[in-house]
C-alpha cells in the first residue's frame, strides 16, 4: 500500500531535497495522528497534503513548522535533522488558516515582524525596503499603515502571505489558506498563489481537503488517510493511476461496482459483480482469484448512446455543467451511477432527457480493479 515519494514531472529546478520526513509518527495520547510518514520535498516544488479532516495532514505540516515534535522518526530540513529545533529557529514560515495577523500592528508592522526578530538587528531602512517589496508582490501597495481589521478577507490573506515570504523561507507552509474565502476569491487566489510560487521559486507545502484546489495548484500531491500516506504523485498520476479505491474516490469522482474476481487473463481481469453481471478491468496491485474487489470507472470514460451495445440504463437526472453534462443514470441491478458527457458529442446523440432509455458502455481497459478496502 505504501509508496515512497518520488519526483513527478514537476517544475523543480534541480532535484535537491529541501525537506524530508523519515518514518515520522506522532501520537497525541492514545491517538496516532501520523504514522510512519516517508516523504521527500524537492526544492522549488508545490506539494500538497490532501485528505479529509483528521487524516494527519495538518499534523505533518506542524511537524515541519516545528510546532509538534514527532514521537518517532526524523524531520530533516536542508539535510539536517531538526526534530529538536524550535519553531523560531527554523527557516520555515507558515500562512495560518485564519491568518493569525497581529491585531495591534499595522499591515507594514505585521509584514516586518519576522525581519525585526533577526539578531544582530537589520537596519531599519533595509526592513522597510523589504516590506515594501513584499507589499508590491502581493499587490497591496499603499496599505502600509492600514489596520488589520480594516482589511477584507482576501486582503488579510495577502498580508499573511507577504508576512511569510518576506523572510525568504526554505519552505512556505500553507494551512488551508483558502478555507475562509468565498468561492470566486478562492479561484483567483489559487491562480495568484501558483504564479507567486513560480515567480519566487520558494518551495510551497499546502494542506487542503479540497481535491480541486490540490489538483489545480500542485506539482505533487500526497494523499493521506488515517495518519498514513496513501499515494504520492503528480495530479495526473493520481487521477489516471490511483493505487487504491480510496484515492480513486477522493481524487476526482468514480463509480464503484463491488464483486469477486473470477478470472485473470493477461492484462484484464474479470469480476463477477454481486448482482450477477460480469465486468472486465485492469487490476491494481496484487489481486487473487476469488478476492473481494471493486471495479472503478470514471464518469467521463462512460459513453451514452441510443443504439449499439452496452448496459441498459434510464436517465434519472441531468445537470448542465457548461462544457459537460452530468447524467445520473439507473441500471436495473447496478443501481444509480454518474456519466459525464462532453458537449461536442451531444448533437449526434443527445441531449438526453430524464426518462430516456439509453445504453452505456466503456472501454474495459479504462476500468480499474481495486482491493475492496
Amino acid at each position: 500500500m505504501e509508496i515512497r515519494g518520488y519526483i513527478g514531472d514537476a517544475s523543480p529546478v534541480n532535484n535537491k531535497v529541501i525537506a524530508e520526513l523519515r518514518g515520522v509518527s506522532k501520537r497525541f495520547g492514545d491517538v496516532l495522528a501520523a504514522s510512519d510518514l516517508n516523504l521527500s520535498i524537492v526544492e522549488g516544488e508545490f506539494l500538497s497534503f490532501l485528505g479529509p479532516s483528521g487524516c494527519g495532514k495538518t499534523t505533518a505540516l506542524r511537524m515541519l513548522a516545528g510546532f509538534e515534535v514527532p514521537t518517532e522518526g526524523e524531520v530533516l530540513l536542508d539535510g539536517k535533522v531538526v526534530n529538536d529545533l524550535d519553531a523560531y529557529h527554523r527557516p520555515v514560515n507558515m500562512v495560518f488558516q485564519q491568518y493569525a495577523l497581529f491585531p495591534h500592528m499595522t499591515v507594514a508592522q505585521n509584514i516586518g515582524y519576522g525581519l525585526r526578530q533577526v539578531r544582530p538587528r537589520l537596519p531599519k531602512a533595509h526592513i522597510a525596503e523589504k516590506v515594501s517589496k513584499a507589499l508590491d508582490v502581493v499587490q497591496l501597495n499603499g496599505f502600509d499603515d492600514r489596520r488589520i481589521w480594516e482589511m477584507s478577507g482576501g486582503q488579510q490573506q495577502r498580508v499573511a502571505l507577504a508576512r511569510a515570504i518576506v523572510n525568504e523561507p526554505k519552505l512556505l507552509l500553507l494551512d488551508e489558506p483558502m478555507a475562509a474565502l468565498d468561492r470566486k476569491l478562492r479561484k483567483e487566489m489559487q491562480i495568484e498563489l501558483q504564479n507567486l510560487q513560480r515567480k519566487l521559486g520558494i518551495t510551497f507545502v499546502l494542506v487542503t481537503h479540497d481535491q480541486e484546489e490540490a489538483l489545480s495548484m500542485s506539482d505533487r500531491i500526497c494523499v493521506m488517510r488515517d495518519g498514513r500516506i496513501v499515494q504520492i504523485g503528480s495530479p495526473q498520476e493520481l487521477y489516471d493511476q490511483p493505487n487504491s479505491r480510496y484515492v480513486a474516490d477522493f481524487v476526482g469522482t468514480s463509480n464503484f461496482f463491488d464483486g469477486k474476481i473470477t478470472d485473470q487473463d493477461g492484462t484484464l481481469t474479470s469480476v463477477l459483480l454481486d448482482n450477477g453481471l460480469t465486468m472486465q478491468g485492469k487490476p491494481v496491485g496484487q489481486l487473487g482469484k476469488g478476492q473481494q474487489v471493486c471495479v472503478s470507472v470514471r464518469p467521463e470514460q462512460m459513453k451514452l448512446h441510443r443504439q449499439g451495445e452496452g448496459l441498459n440504463v434510464v436517465v434519472q437526472n441531468r445537470i448542465f455543467l457548461g462544457e459537460h453534462t452530468e447524467y445520473l443514470v439507473m441500471h436495473e441491478t447496478l443501481g444509480e451511477f454518474l456519466v459525464l458527457s462532453p458537449r461536442q458529442s451531444e448533437p449526434d446523440n443527445g441531449p438526453f432527457n430524464a426518462g430516456d432509455d439509453l445504453l452505456v458502455s466503456w472501454a474495459s481497459d479504462t476500468a480499474l480493479i481495486f482491493d475492496n478496502i
Partner: protein, 272 residues
C-alpha cells in the same frame, strides 16, 4: 415582578443616595437636612487626620494593586502552560481565594504574621552585630500591603486568564514561526494584547484595596487607612463630614470600575 425589581434597587441604592445627599447638608447633624452647603467637603480636605489616612490608603492601594498586577499576570501566563489535575487545583484555589470572606483573610493573616514575627524577631536580635539595634518586624504598612497583594493577586489572575483564554493561540504560534523567541513573543504579542485586562485588573485591585476595611482592620497595626478612620469616627457620632468622605470615595471608586469595564470590553473586541 417589575415592582419587585424596582423595590430591590431602591433598597440597594437609597442609602447610598442619602449619604451623597447629606454630604451637602448645611446643618451639623447627619439626620436632619438643613439647606445646601459644600462646607463639609472643605472641612474634610483641611482635616489633617483625614488627609493622613487618605495618604496611607492611596499608598497601600497603589502599591498592592501594582504588585498584584505584576505577580497576577505572571501567574496567569504561567498557568497557560499547565494542564490536567494540577491546573484544576490551581483554578479551584484561585476562586476560593476570591470568595473567602475578608474577615477570615484578615484573622488568618494576622495570626500567621504574628506567629512568624514572634519567631523571627528574637532570632534577628540574636544574630545582629553588637552595638546596633536589631530591626523589629511588626504590623504596619508592610503587612497591610502584603495582605492586600495576596488577596488581589487572585482577582488579577482571573481577569487576565479570561483574556488569555480568549486570545487566538495561532497568534503566539505565528510569532514563534516568525523567529521570535518565547520572551520576544511575550513582549511583542502577548503583553500588548492582554494589557487592557492587566490595566482593568489594576484598577479593580486599586478600588478593592482602597475600600477595604475588614482585612486592613486586622493587619494595619498602628497605621490608619481611610476606611479605618471612618469607622473610628463613626463611634463619635455620624457627622456630614463622614458623608462627604463616603461620597468622594464612592465617586473615585465608580470611575475606576467604569474605566476597568470599558477596558475589558474594548480589549476583548480588538483581539478577536
Amino acid at each position: 415582578m417589575r415592582l419587585y425589581a424596582v423595590c430591590v434597587y431602591l433598597f440597594l441604592y437609597i442609602p447610598i443616595g442619602v449619604i451623597a445627599l447629606f454630604s451637602f447638608n448645611a446643618g451639623r447633624h447627619a439626620s436632619q437636612l438643613q439647606g445646601f452647603s459644600t462646607k463639609w467637603y472643605g472641612k474634610v480636605l483641611s482635616n489633617p487626620f483625614v488627609m493622613d489616612a487618605l495618604e496611607t490608603s492611596l499608598m497601600v492601594a497603589f502599591t498592592s494593586a501594582l504588585l498584584a498586577s505584576v505577580f497576577g499576570t505572571m501567574a496567569a501566563v504561567a498557568l497557560q502552560g499547565i494542564k490536567g489535575p494540577l491546573r484544576t487545583a490551581f483554578d479551584l484555589l484561585i476562586y476560593v481565594a476570591v470568595m473567602i470572606p475578608g474577615i477570615v483573610i484578615g484573622i488568618a493573616t494576622l495570626i500567621g504574621l504574628v506567629t512568624v514575627f514572634d519567631q523571627l524577631n528574637p532570632l534577628m536580635a540574636a544574630i545582629w552585630p553588637d552595638g546596633f539595634v536589631a530591626p523589629k518586624l511588626h504590623m504596619g504598612m508592610g503587612s497591610l500591603i502584603g495582605a492586600h497583594t495576596m488577596f488581589l493577586m487572585a482577582l488579577v489572575v482571573i481577569i487576565v486568564r479570561a483574556r488569555l483564554a480568549g486570545m487566538d493561540r495561532a497568534l503566539t504560534e505565528a510569532s514563534s514561526d516568525l523567529y521570535a523567541t518565547p520572551m520576544g513573543t511575550f513582549w511583542q504579542v502577548t503583553l500588548p494584547l492582554i494589557f487592557p485586562a492587566i490595566l482593568a485588573g489594576f484598577l479593580l485591585s486599586f478600588t478593592f484595596s482602597f475600600d477595604d476595611f475588614i482585612i486592613a482592620f486586622f493587619v494595619a497595626g498602628s497605621e490608619t487607612t481611610l476606611p479605618i478612620y471612618v469607622f473610628a469616627s463613626i463611634r463619635r457620632g455620624v457627622t456630614p463630614e463622614i458623608n462627604a468622605i463616603g461620597t468622594m470615595v464612592l465617586v473615585v471608586s465608580l470611575m475606576a470600575l467604569i474605566t476597568a469595564q470599558l477596558l475589558l470590553q474594548r480589549g476583548g473586541k480588538k483581539a478577536k
